[in-house]
Symmetry: C2
Subunit: 491 residues, 2 copies
């Protein structure tokens, strides 16, 4: 057991250092003085260099060799499995290649931002080709003869292949597109109008965070340009934003990030600062943020309660009753931008990116054809044409920084949330009565006890199945979306 204890002690220190690096990122996005940026870049690089060296440490390989797995319990084996995977990930990629990727993607992000500002895909294309070539090389090193895209996906969603995802997304797409067309043809609910005091937004958003079970004694809510959740264990901080015209952006960003944060806060303390002490995958993480935000936060029952809270906070804001408020919260609008999309259309954006990036990696699509491919696909799924690259192929930062295999986890999260929601409804028949009182505790307790507490103990698909009782599939999500939007839009 000595090798295992030594490895875990080393690992615990590494996890603590990773928390420090993460908090440095939080500081940078929230409260850092602007002039500190150049020094901060060196501080972040120094932390990254320390963490990289620890991930590669030869001592880890020695411990892994020395451990007799038969002597370990389930938790021990799961820890070992996570450490093996992360060590293999770090050691398979040659150092020169990793450094080359870091340099190239760092420069590419700036080139992408310039090209997007100029609406000029051609200015970004050569850089994207470089990034893809390097990432493919990395993928080959990771895949060791297997599928390159699967290796990339494995960084974010271990145990899931591109073929798994393609099957699920392929089954989802025509139904989503059809439902969307029907909604577009129907009469639309009213938009929210007027202005909403930003201080009052922040006050209500903090209340909402607590309502959804976020533990403020181990967290903070601050403002940032992009909402995010940061940290694991006893210090998990979230950010949100305010826009006087759009309080829903503030409230639903907060509830979304609270979903991420509660996942991290609610992992069993037994796993604190161990490989199991953080969310098991991006997809499962997104399932928590999305079920908090959508299936709970945008439900008829909960919006009924929220309508009263908003009237208390802002007075009469022109929406006559709870039913109109529910429709307004869930209004489906035409648009080009993924991050602004409602829950009906969001997955169409993601499915598009998944198919294109998988084709790029397989060599079935060339960068020179990417803009046209994007625009054709968008027109087919959404029913109108992309007007400019910043509303199309240039809208997301991900590819410029080498994030291939990340996009599908957004929709996997929605698929998982669909499964969990059916499990939750079956377990808690009185759920809507509680939500109508602003009481999320039964729902969040169910999620904590059935999923969140396990952290990295089970593989992604396994933990979803254990919690929901459903083999992960797109069907529950589709049932949920159909029922909800057919009702709101009287289809």
């Amino acid at each position: 057991m000595t090798a295992y204890s030594d490895l875990m002690r080393f690992q615990r220190e590494t996890m603590a250092l990773a928390q420090v690096a993460g908090r440095l990122g939080w500081d940078q996005e929230t409260i850092m003085p602007r002039g500190a940026a150049p020094q901060r870049a060196e501080e972040m690089a120094a932390m990254e260099s320390v963490l990289h060296a620890r991930r590669m440490a030869p001592a880890v390989a020695d411990w892994l060799m020395a451990i007799d797995e038969a002597t370990l319990d389930d938790v021990g084996r799961a820890n070992l499995h996570q450490i093996r995977r992360s060590h293999a990930r770090a050691t398979k990629v040659p150092g020169d290649l990793a450094a080359h990727i870091a340099r190239t993607t760092s420069a590419a992000q700036g080139i992408w931002a310039g090209a997007r500002a100029d609406d000029d895909f051609a200015a970004f294309a050569p850089t994207l080709k470089d990034v893809i070539a390097l990432k493919r090389e990395e993928g080959q090193a990771l895949a060791e003869g297997g599928d390159v895209y699967d290796a990339m996906l494995g960084d974010f969603e271990p145990g899931t292949t591109g073929a798994d995802v393609a099957a699920m997304f392929g089954a989802l797409r025509p139904h989503l597109s059809e439902l969307r067309a029907a909604v577009r043809a129907a009469e639309s609910p009213a938009r929210l109008q007027g202005t909403f005091d930003e201080t009052a937004q922040m006050k209500l958003t903090r209340q909402l965070a607590k309502t959804f079970g976020y533990d403020m004694s181990m967290g903070r809510v601050d403002k940032a340009v992009h909402p995010f959740s940061s940290g694991s264990g006893l210090d998990v901080r979230i950010t949100t934003r305010t826009n006087p015209k759009d309080p829903f952006s503030c409230f639903y960003s907060t509830i979304h990030e609270v979903g991420h944060a509660c996942y991290e806060q609610n992992i069993s303390r037994d796993h604190l600062l161990t490989p199991l002490g953080q969310g098991v995958s991006m997809g499962v993480h997104e399932s928590q943020s999305r079920i908090y935000e959508n299936q709970l936060g945008r439900s008829r029952a909960f919006t009924g309660w929220l309508f009263g809270q908003m009237k208390d906070a802002f007075g009469d804001f022109g929406i006559p009753d709870a039913e109109s408020f529910y429709a307004c919260v869930n209004r489906v609008s035409d648009g080009f931008i993924r991050t602004e999309a409602d829950e009906l259309q969001y997955n169409l954006h993601v499915l598009l990116r998944f198919d294109l990036e998988r084709a790029l990696m397989a060599g079935d699509l060339q960068v020179d054809d990417l803009e046209a491919a994007w625009n054709d696909r968008f027109a087919a799924d959404f029913g109108y044409a992309v007007d400019k690259p910043s509303n199309g192929v240039l809208q997301d930062v991900h590819w410029s920084v080498g994030l291939f295999g990340y996009f599908p986890t957004y929709s996997l999260g929605n698929v998982y949330a669909g499964c969990l929601h059916e499990g939750l409804r079956a377990a808690l028949p009185q759920l809507d009565d509680d939500l109508a009182q602003g009481n999320t505790t039964p729902a969040t307790t169910w999620l904590r006890e059935n999923l969140q507490t396990h952290g990295g103990l089970y593989e992604p698909r396994e933990v979803i199945e254990r919690a929901s009782g459903i083999v992960p599939s797109e069907a529950p999500l589709l049932r949920y979306l159909r029922a909800k939007f057919s009702d709101i839009y009287a289809l």
Copy 2:
């Protein structure tokens, strides 16, 4: 030059990591959620462990051996000197002893706090004996046959010996005590009365920080229980506190910390993240905080301007005119506590601690006799008796955490500030006219150009002499204090 470049690259990363560790401390004292404390302790320990390993790194010894000093310029030699000192410091102390000290002082701090709360020195004495024994062992390892106390002092004030300090402080003490007795016998100015809105205090305190040249684009002002300055280079943050009854505590804590912070902010950018890129010693650091706070901030000219600012912020607060305000700011009051002492009495507190801790380390004073020795000395210097241990020997945390050799740097700072003040007055004959307008720029520019910009380039006493044109001595401080308090108290 390769060994030097390699060493400096390694060192730069170490300095960046030290900045990260420091910022973690800032976060903990200002905005960290309270429930995060146990995890934070592990994060801090992990950072300390990384930094410790880098300070001890065998590669550093190899580089130090390989460097040909003759090929370096002044800056290179100064960097090398600092790295050599720090590497020697880290490698001379056996690892077991360092760990033993860390464990003992960590526990001792809690025992000291309990003993202070109970006013029971006997409850702390056995622990203090252990700390002293361990620190003496460490001092012997550092001193390698030389004076143990000198070795401890060298951690905070390199190039200065206990004998140097004893000579200076010995010359200072009778005059301070005599001046204090005369002030005590004279009529006292009015105390500040009333309550002062804490939000308005924070607003004015931020204004004061800017007035003294603190660059807010590379810093922040937040509240904390104890005011402090944290960080070097491009991210130097300060904290202050508010008390509705005592706005001077807020304003002068801020100005004091701004002195520390401006020293760090104003070091030449050439030295950023190098060993020269931080204040050269605790004494020189304190000279900056004290000259900002006292010789500038508590001057008749500047308080005249501050009086107007306070009237604008708080309305009439019962002080009739600028002259009464100046006397009120500089009022000398009886008291037991070092951290609450005015600039006349402060050094008497420090001199007491210096003599006692030096005697403890030399074995000339035993812990069992410490309380009596403290009380006798206090009565002799202050003219009244200590009423309870929490107002006497138990008031400071320093000894419990093993900080021996630190206390004298507080008064060295005052001595250095006295020298710098004479140099500054000689260089800027119109200084009072500027201060009376709330314009500190000529003074802070002089300090920046003559002292702060150099960072660690010159040894402490050398940089004071270069800047002030005066060989460091207690005489200028004494002249300043005599003139100021004779005037205010009409002696």
